[in-house]
Amino acid sequence: MEHLLPAEIIEAGRAFPEALAACGDLDALLRLKGEYVGRDGSHAARLMELLKAAPKEQKRDLGAVINGLKQQWEEGLKARQTELEAAKKQLNALADRWDPSLPPPVPARGALHPLNRLMDRLVEVFRPLGFHVEEGPEVETEAHNFDGLNIPEDHPAKASSDTFYLAAHPELLLRTHTSPVQVRTLLRVAPQLAASGGIRFLAPGRVYRKDEIDPTHSPMFHQVEGMLVGRGIGMQHLKGTLEYALRALFGPHTEIRLRPSYFPFVEPGCEVDVSCPLCDAKGCRVCKGSGWVEILGAGLIHPNVLRYAGIDPAEWSGWAFGMGVERMAMMLSQTPDLRLFFENDQRFLNTMGGLD
């Protein structure tokens, strides 16, 4: 019987299963359907033409073969259609589902400046001890910046090589430290000192000195000063306060060390070191192997500073300290170059000043 079928039909019968399997989607299946069982020009149509033209005695057998082939193709196509439709449904279901492993939308990320963060932190540390914040202008008088602080007339800090002066106002300068805030505050509170029993405050802010800009110097930088005035205040209270604050800042096992030093506005004066917080005082690059890092200058307020403000040093005493914020920030963050704090590169600010 086979010899009655043309070779192309025999080949189509053989190729069908493979072509069917190769249909990856419903569109391809539709094309295959047209090719095999479509109304015009398909393999099935060609077989029907053969059947019509066949001699009468062959029609029955030929018809059986042709029907068998057509049935095989139609069943195959239908089964594959079912398969592909199921796959498509599954795919659609997946597409509707949210992938929980996708990252969340990114909110814009901002940051406080690291110097402001450190100053805010210092205020937080001293707040429980009753310290509030006092502020003053950056353009100051010579009297507040020098005279009220027992800095003598011939002190080199007054020279134009060290301090910026205003052209139109020769008596005005850019404050070289935040200490004028101490003078202003003492002058203001002096009349009520007896009623209040004393005063304790921090003075954070920006200060200016005529330093060239390099990795460790800047003509503008920040200080945080602290002052406490009361009755019977001595060095033990300075040490106790600094020990408390520096442990809150650097960790509970931090040790502090006071060394004699000299500043015109305190007597006695001292430098204060902390055990290196970066190496646990074992010795590292930051502490130059000594285990100690110089952190601030301090001392008991010089009686002349109290007198200038109209406060009797026989009745009142106190202490003051001052620290450079940049220096401490550089040390704690191991930032190698001071200029990074003033360049305001968002990449630096992002790494340094993330929100708590």
Partner: protein, 640 residues
Amino acid sequence: MWIDRKALAAEIPAAAALETRQLCELLASLGFPVDGVAVREGSEVLDVDITANRGDAMSHRGMAREVAAKLQQPLAPLAPPSVTEGAPRIQVRLESPACPLYATALLSLGEGATPPETQAFLRALEALPKHLPAVDASNDLLHRYGHPTHAFDADRIRGAVSIRQAKAGETLVTLDGVARTLAAGDLVIADEAGPIALAGVMGGEGTKVTESTRRVLLESAWFDPKSVKATARRHSLHTDASHRFGRGADPAMAAVARDLLVHRLQSWAGATLESAWTVGGLPPAPAPVSVPEALLTRVAGEARPLAEGVEALRRLGCTVETQPGTLVVQPPSWRHDLAIPEDLAEEVLRLRGYEHIPSVLPPLEGPPLPLAAEYLQRQAVARRLAHLGFHQTVTYGFISLDADAAFAVAGNPAEGRTLVNPLGQEYSVMRGTLLSSLRSAAEQNLRQGAREIRLFELAPTYTSGPQGPAEQFTLGLIWGGTLGGEDYLSPARPVREADLSGMARDLGLARLPEIRALGEGLFGFELPVADLPQAGARIIPTFRAFSRFPSVERDLSLLVDLGQSHETLTVAMRAVLPAGILQDLRCVDVFRHKSLPEGRQAWLMRLRFQADRTLVGDEVDGWVASALAAAEALGAKLRA
């Protein structure tokens, strides 16, 4: 200052037994930290940091006195062969109170040279020997005993010598070869032809000792520290001598140093003493200082036996008398820094050791003062802006005149804010605006490849005024670049001026500040911090009742004109909605596309209702219909 360990041990023999590290720790505990140690000329030299008030410590003898007091060990005796004084060979007149004492000697030099060990000592201290015994001996004395001396070529001095104030306009060529015009306040040594030295600062070229010098006139005087400091500063001449005289030399050392110098020249250079004589006398000693026991206790941090104070001060060279509850102290002639009771209390503590101060928290009298509202306000604004994605900057308070002019405001002339001595032209005026600095920072970030810039600063700006620049804390904010595009829900688009308006409104401002286009797609505004709403004073806000019934949300997709104001539309819609029940009304999507009718855009408005009861669908439908009608009255149309 460099200190040679061998030379130190010559003054305080007990120091030789200390290891270098021990010696460094001991000096630091006394207030003289060591910045470094080097080995030179076969000896260790220490770089000791000496504070400005301790002129007395600027020598090996001075440092030895400190070590001896701490170790309670004796100093080596300082006993130069005494020089018998005779008749003056050159008349010396003291014509200024700034020089009360002038010890001198006239010598004829013989043959001889500076000993090799002295040359090595000077080299170790980075003081190059001159191979002129009169000069090297003077330098040797300066470093060992701290008293500056000077040798003049006696044959080049004309007539009598006077120590006097300079006449304004007089000139002197100093040893550094510089011709200086003198001021009336300068103290000079002069002969009858004019000044031959700036007293206590530097000698003159005309009378300097050279290899051909045969006779020298020595000077070992005491000059008033203020006079020396002023002269050194006026002429920018900061010498070894001016540092020591300027901080206060020991007047009692004047004659001793002269004798030591004479002895060195006799033994090194075979000099013959023609005569030695002294004009004037010691300046009056300051009055003794009374130190109350209570002060000693307060400074030490605890009560200590009074005898401990007596002992400590005597070890430092003071004369101490004890009265009930008080020490009466006469400081030694070399300690000009001990003038008030606190100075002496510090000395007692210093010798005992700061490590012994007890650690005590101060008593709190009265309630702590609150933090100022302005301070809290700045902190709150900074934190809020950081949470909104803005980076806080810190920029310099001074800018260039050009940058200032670009943001010039009437009534704020730069002249009133200009520095007389700026670091450079770009730092010459105190800024009247933050926007210039913020723009520079933003441009720098753009150059570094940042796609979006969000920066702000809270800092003073300055306004010129008759009393000087007035300061005002200002908030400056800058925003630019490409917004979004960094995740799958936020399409990228350029930052627009309107974004800054929204930000300004979000800060709760009563009045919108001017938004400025700053170029490169950057927009900014600034305003006084005082114009920002105050930070809430209440820590716990008042309770407001809230509904526990479910809320209902409805979306309205509206076609509106491109020029439609969001605020106008929402005000109109809110007006027709029940105020207590409408919880939220906002635009959650803006769609602009060519498929929409020309001149129109689509806004997706979301309405949320909630009441103290379950809401019924019909009533919500009614409210939504009213809202739609209100929108339609403004030309909006429900999108199909």
